[in-house]
Symmetry: C2
Subunit: 345 residues, 2 copies
């Protein structure tokens, strides 16, 4: 039941005007007479005309399409990020190519190439693990605005929106120290990523600041997932001098850590302090509710999208690095104040 598609020419013929006039009506130009506009409008509706944006883009050589490439949509942090971008992109009248890379840099390269062929106006990328500056260089050099989000790629002159991992980690560790903890671990995350490095340095700096042990053995890296959290906690429990609390690389790791603690009959939030990072949706409703460093992923997504749109509209732009503020949200997983008293007593 394929309808023969109707074009501006068909509309023009039916309305008794030229295609130029129809085009003018389409873009809401004030040059066209009110009665003509009405007539053309009526014909458009009657014929069920569908605007062919591709043809328009070809002529104008610009599009209202942005690319959004995310490394892991099943992780609710990145899903939230995507939703935030989606909001502002849609509201600005743009539409997005969105793709998930599953942390696969090759696949990432393919989808970015494809998006380029389709004429995207700009790209927001949460880079897959292992993305190099060289991977992105050609795209960036072509003059298409690119905004990196959540993760950075060292050695690339490009805009980015990331959270302040260092400050977040410091405030989390300071909180644990105030609660009386003296031996604190850092759990999870791949140690070859910039994000890991930043959070881990925040962790270290806070320990050093308080004159506490900050030796390497306290940093236990693993996959940044729930399973990785379980694994990391197991290794931690095997230590001679066991920590009494831990800062986790992200919330997923923190949940995994809680699972791991429970199966060792250690109750998180009571016998052991756990702090996460990201503040995903589930953090609030988990049991125990997770104390975590909130980075407002949706807000970051919005920020990134706004930055990208700004750069698209400004013909000319400079790379701009935004660091999103974070704040510690204290819930129950690191011990309530009254319990702390017992702990320190």
């Amino acid at each position: 039941m394929k309808q023969p598609k109707v074009t501006v020419v068909d509309v023009a013929r039916a309305a008794g005007v030229s295609k130029s006039t129809v085009s003018l009506v389409l873009q809401g130009s004030s040059l066209v007479n009110e009665t003509t506009r009405a007539r053309v409008g009526a014909v458009i509706r009657e014929l069920g005309y569908v605007y062919n944006r591709g043809a328009a883009n070809l002529r104008q050589s610009k599009s209202k399409i942005v690319g959004i490439v995310v490394n892991d949509l099943t992780n609710s942090f990145f899903a939230e990020l995507a939703v935030g971008m989606d909001m502002v992109v849609q509201s600005a009248g743009y539409i997005q190519f969105m793709a998930n890379t599953s942390e696969n840099a090759d696949r990432q390269g393919e989808v970015i190439a494809s998006m380029r062929e389709h004429g995207m106006a700009g790209l927001i990328l949460s880079p897959a693990r292992g993305t190099t500056a060289a991977d992105l260089k050609p795209l960036v050099d072509s003059g298409i605005p690119v905004v990196l989000v959540a993760r950075n790629v060292p050695g690339l002159k490009v805009s980015s929106v990331v959270s302040d991992g260092h400050a977040g980690a410091m405030s989390a560790v300071r909180h644990l120290i105030e609660l009386g903890h003296r031996r604190i671990a850092f759990l999870g995350g791949f140690n070859d990523t910039a994000v890991f490095d930043e959070r881990m340095r925040g962790f270290r700096d806070a320990l050093v600041e308080a004159g506490l042990d900050a030796s390497d053995e306290l940093v236990i890296s693993s996959a940044p997932s729930r399973a990785g959290g379980v694994a990391a906690v197991e290794r931690m429990l095997a230590m001679r001098d066991r920590p009494t609390a831990a800062l986790c690389f992200n919330d997923a790791v923190a949940f995994g850590a809680c699972d791991g603690l429970r199966s060792a009959r250690i109750e998180p939030g009571v016998d052991f302090g756990v702090i996460g990072f990201d503040d995903v949706i589930e953090a609030k409703t988990a049991v125990p509710a997770l104390t975590t460093v909130s980075v407002d992923p949706q807000g970051m997504g919005r920020r990134a999208a706004q930055l990208l749109l700004k750069q698209i509209n400004a013909g000319d732009f400079d790379a701009e690095a935004m660091v999103a503020a974070v704040r510690l949200v204290v819930r129950e997983s690191c011990g309530a104040p009254q319990r702390v008293k017992e702990l320190t007593a």
Copy 2:
């Protein structure tokens, strides 16, 4: 640093051939001589030529773009669904417009219209609540393949991939009956949705089959969320003749139900049987681990995408309704077998 873009004509000139030949090379035609192909290929790489798929689409009036519209990406069920679709769409060399509607039917209408203008070849839609057949009628009539996923829209002749809510609910209820429960409730979900209706009928049919009470008061609808679960369980506990177990509309409701039971000092999985629906990631690790009807969202997404691609490739197609099999995953929230003995003793 905007590069002047190179086109087939530029490549042709540089390689000393005609643009037709370049085009042939681009589409890997066997008509072109091997040495010419190599020369053109070299020039393409050297000049950094980027294929303009928009122009090609215009000429051929077909595209390799599909639309994916999801009602709530922050819900991990739908995120998994999206990832499943993404996989097969990408592998087939297609690229996707993806948009989130946040259950807003108006926004959904806008993005679908926009995707249409951009010339998508087909659409996979997980419709927002309140989507009517009339909303989708024009699109479907235009001959563009549409596949509905996860939710159906009554009165629309269009393909769909949904889970077998009826069978899933029946098997869940049968399981509860085997465990010795004789009075079972159905909790949560909006009673004006097709999904609710289907699951609820499965619930009823299983009760009737066993000769048990299936009266209306046992069906307590509410928002399909954690909060809705709490509310529903409260209403249930106020009944004269209290049920001893419940099938919940989805896992979120089930988690809420557990919360509600606990605050009434009833331990889910011990004093009361709870079964969920969907098998979201958290179901496995919750305490108690949730017995639930697993629907493999990622698999459903893949299935839907395959169906869509099939319809795109077949010029002509019929609406096809797929029902994804489900299976009951028994964990701990409905009482382990040994506990059942005590219960029935």
